[in-house]
């Protein structure tokens, strides 16, 4: 049962921010409510005031040709991202991930901003945004600041947002056209138990990896980039045995970097192995998408 609360409908971001500041710990921003109402129904969270941020005009998707960045408003639903032609063209891995997130009902109501701000360790969105090196714009009555995804997500269920701050939008740089990227996940019911991704940015001649990005999600309190794995892949030829050798080294690093815990979905050891196995698939798919073809994403395994 939901306990009674008051709903506030502020008109602007500054008003919402002032309200959150005034009401303090008794209040929380309310977007789709797919996490918030759930936790409140279960008695895990208690708020006497919810501040509705959906009417603040923070939803929408736009691609800026000049900066080559996709701008996704915080209250944009997963469904809107999933069905967006602009996202499909500019960030196919993100579009593909959204198609496999949760279920159709959660996607119709839940927002991208709500996913990030809840900082659930099992987020597909955060891991894919780490691969894109996306940034988040935070705003309050005091002003705005821009942070990276790694800075935004401090710990499980903890962000760097101040109590009076809202996430306004995220900016997602397009990957270069010759890049290959792929995200793989394993999920029981809805939430992912493991989610890993790779982006390979080839050198100009398309024969070697100029830059590798490797991100591991769900296997620790927050998703992380694995620098050691990225360094193992950087400079490697994109084809042949040498790629396989670099990949083996990268996968060793991934196995060491993740910190899975035993839970209903598997033992820590099992999840580590699953992460490494899925990472191999993601890397091979990213490699296959790289160079001549456009940067692309492959569907998740679920």
């Amino acid at each position: 049962m939901l306990q009674p609360f008051r709903l506030h409908d502020p008109a602007t971001v500054a008003d919402a921010s002032n309200l959150l500041a005034d009401l303090g710990e008794e209040a929380r921003a309310y977007a789709g409510g797919t996490e918030l109402l759930l936790a409140m129904k279960q008695g895990l969270l208690h708020y006497r005031h919810l501040v509705n941020i959906k009417p603040l005009g923070l939803s929408g998707i736009r691609f800026d040709e000049e900066t080559r960045r996709l701008r996704i408003g915080a209250t944009t639903t997963h469904r809107a991202v999933e069905h967006s032609a602009v996202v499909a063209a500019r960030a196919p891995m993100l579009a593909s991930m959204e198609r496999h997130l949760a279920n159709v009902r959660v996607r119709a109501v839940g927002t991208v901003g709500g996913n990030l701000c809840f900082a659930e360790p099992h987020s597909d969105v955060a891991t894919v945004l780490l691969l894109h090196e996306a940034t988040a714009t935070l705003g309050s009555a005091r002003g705005r600041r821009v942070v990276g995804i790694a800075e935004l997500l401090r710990d499980a269920y903890t962000t760097c947002l101040h109590p009076d701050e809202l996430l306004l939008d995220i900016e997602v740089p397009e990957l270069p056209p010759n890049a290959g990227a792929a995200y793989q996940k394993a999920a029981f019911l809805e939430r992912p138990s493991v989610g890993v991704g790779v982006a390979l940015l080839p050198a100009a001649d398309g024969s070697t990896v100029a830059e590798a990005r490797v991100a591991v999600g769900c296997l620790g309190p927050v998703p992380v980039r694995v620098g050691e794995a990225e360094r193992a892949l950087a400079g490697a030829p994109l084809r042949g045995r040498a790629f396989e050798r670099a990949l083996d080294a990268a996968l060793d690093a991934v196995g060491r970097a993740c910190e899975p815990v035993d839970d209903l979905y598997g033992s820590a050891g099992y999840k580590r192995q699953l992460g490494v196995a899925l990472m191999r698939r993601a890397a091979v798919a990213a490699r296959d998408h790289a160079a001549p073809a456009r940067g692309g994403g492959i569907s998740a395994t679920d």
Partner: protein, 172 residues
């Protein structure tokens, strides 16, 4: 500093179209859509099972999109259209989706069926000619403890054909 503009409420007036009829109501802001439908309006088609958005027994459509009524505030339907399984039959005739579930024998206890029927409605809104993959992608969030899904898939495929045929007939 500008004074903060705010509308704070404990109660919400809602005006919506529910199953084709205009509806006006005042609800506490914390009332879920599922409680509103079942307890206030007596529309008991949508069911509460998991209560955490994983089973789909409470699926209803808001502006044509499926939502979990168990975890959705009733006040959100203000200005929108709401469809529940009670609104599907016309003049005492089952809707083709409902008929397809009956014909395929796609239910045993029937507890999941209103949700299955409504998610099929959402599917066919978005994809009038769905592939099996698309059907599975829509149905994957709706659980059935009885049937094993095979007959449900058959029913959805039959329903898709029947609805497409109805649309063709309506167009001519």
């Amino acid at each position: 500093m500008q004074p903060t503009s705010d509308v704070a409420r404990d109660l919400a007036s809602i005006e919506c179209r529910l199953n084709g009829r205009r509806l006006q109501a005042v609800v506490p802001v914390h009332r879920t859509l599922l409680d509103f439908l079942r307890n206030d309006l007596g529309l008991t088609g949508a069911k509460r099972a998991c209560d955490v958005q994983v089973c789909g027994a409470c699926t209803v459509l808001v502006d044509g999109m499926p939502v979990s009524a168990c975890t959705y505030l009733a006040l959100e339907v203000h200005g929108k259209t709401v469809e529940t399984c009670e609104g599907l039959a016309r003049d005492g005739r089952l809707h083709p989706i409902q008929q397809a579930f009956v014909d395929a024998g796609a239910l045993q206890c029937g507890f999941c069926t209103p949700g299955m029927v409504m998610i099929t409605r959402a599917l066919l809104n978005d994809h009038p000619r769905p592939s099996v993959e698309v059907i599975k992608a829509y149905l994957h969030g709706n659980l059935c403890r009885c049937t094993g899904y095979k007959k449900i898939l058959e029913a959805v495929e039959t329903a898709a054909r029947a609805c497409a045929a109805e649309d063709r007939a309506a167009a001519t």
